[in-house]
Symmetry: C2
Subunit: 224 residues, 2 copies
Amino acid sequence: MAGASMPAPLDGDATYADRSVAVLRTMILDGSLSPGERLNEVHLSQALGISRGPLREAVRRLTSEGLLHLVPHRGAFVPAFTSGQLADLYQLRIALETHAARLIAELEDRSGVEELATALDDAATLLDEQDSAAYPTDQDFHGTLLRLAANPALIEAAESVSARISLARSRSASQPARARAALAEHREILAALVGGDADAAARLLRAHLERSLDNATSLLDAPS
Amino acid sequence: MAGASMPAPLDGDATYADRSVAVLRTMILDGSLSPGERLNEVHLSQALGISRGPLREAVRRLTSEGLLHLVPHRGAFVPAFTSGQLADLYQLRIALETHAARLIAELEDRSGVEELATALDDAATLLDEQDSAAYPTDQDFHGTLLRLAANPALIEAAESVSARISLARSRSASQPARARAALAEHREILAALVGGDADAAARLLRAHLERSLDNATSLLDAPS
DNA sequence: CGACTCTCAACTGTTGACAGTTGTCAGAAG
DNA sequence: CTTCTGACAACTGTCAACAGTTGAGAGTCG
């Protein structure tokens, strides 16, 4: 476990527990806390400079997000997902995002899809310029997609699932070839959304996510 | 707020916080805690016979389930849903359950759908015998449906949404006519599942839930 | 040598007290 | 009468200490 410290109260009057949630989420997703690792309340709270109370609250919240696993009287563990669980998560994500895509395609106000278009163009130039393998704006695309669906409950559920997926595949950054293919697929999905073709958008998005799952699974099953 | 007391540790070694979650969830869903009502940590913890620590943990967990709303430095409130939010929740539920239905229809092992069939028959006799308006097994049908999809993440998400819907329409028990219609619709859905027709199952389930939403909305908009 | 028991250290669950914040209400000013 | 101000009461956020549980390892017995 790497050292950590509580960020200054930049976020106004956020409570210790709130800030701890953000810090821990980052630590879990960036690998500072490895899958399978057990969290020690005393050590962690000292590292964060707070007492165990707020830390426990943060741990409980992340548990309900699926980013931690709680065992009574034993503590919190960073979950290590199997490829089967990863597939389950992707299946759930497919259900949620294809629903969002249908909602967007049927929207009357079409100003939102333009936002998606510009975001994609930015991503394209970014990918060309620095030849980055990561395609960091992949999350942006899906995030924007969900936001445009304008259903808070849907957004929350989908983001929770995406966070768990990020954790499950945190060990494996996607390959350069996959990044470019993903961008192309995003473009296809966008075209369907612009055209208001809900069925096509849902079908393309499903295929896109299934390819992403395949990519992630192959990287998960063949570890370092 | 009605009085409450902590149940004896029948559930083996469940922690105080665990049991408090169950108690509070029941109190919220059965109306002991009214929508809009504010929870007082001191009073509630005394009523439950525990200290504020475990109670706070229970409150935080129910908050992440969507059954409570937390305002910093102000406390926890039982959410009062608008008809728009109820529609959002139903929309999300439709996405999740139609996905589950598709998965079931495509299952190779068809022993599960038989379980659904017998459950429906039981419900029919129950409805005929005591002429109950509540159709208490409605939740059973949808719960079984989800369980058969065999995706833990999907089950958890759907149950969270269903719980919020139950809270949103807690004030309005469904009408007798609606109960019988719902049973008939369940039978249609089941038939599609038995036949392995994923599209039909999804379409019928969507229609079923949309009618349920209409029913709930009319009762919500025309309060007592 | 293996299995069983007992002790113990480490840790989580819980508690009661303290600190900081929020909304309220009486009273003064306009 | 309305509006602002400032103290106060009630409550949530936080802390440090206590209690109960768990897993591990030394020691013992077969």
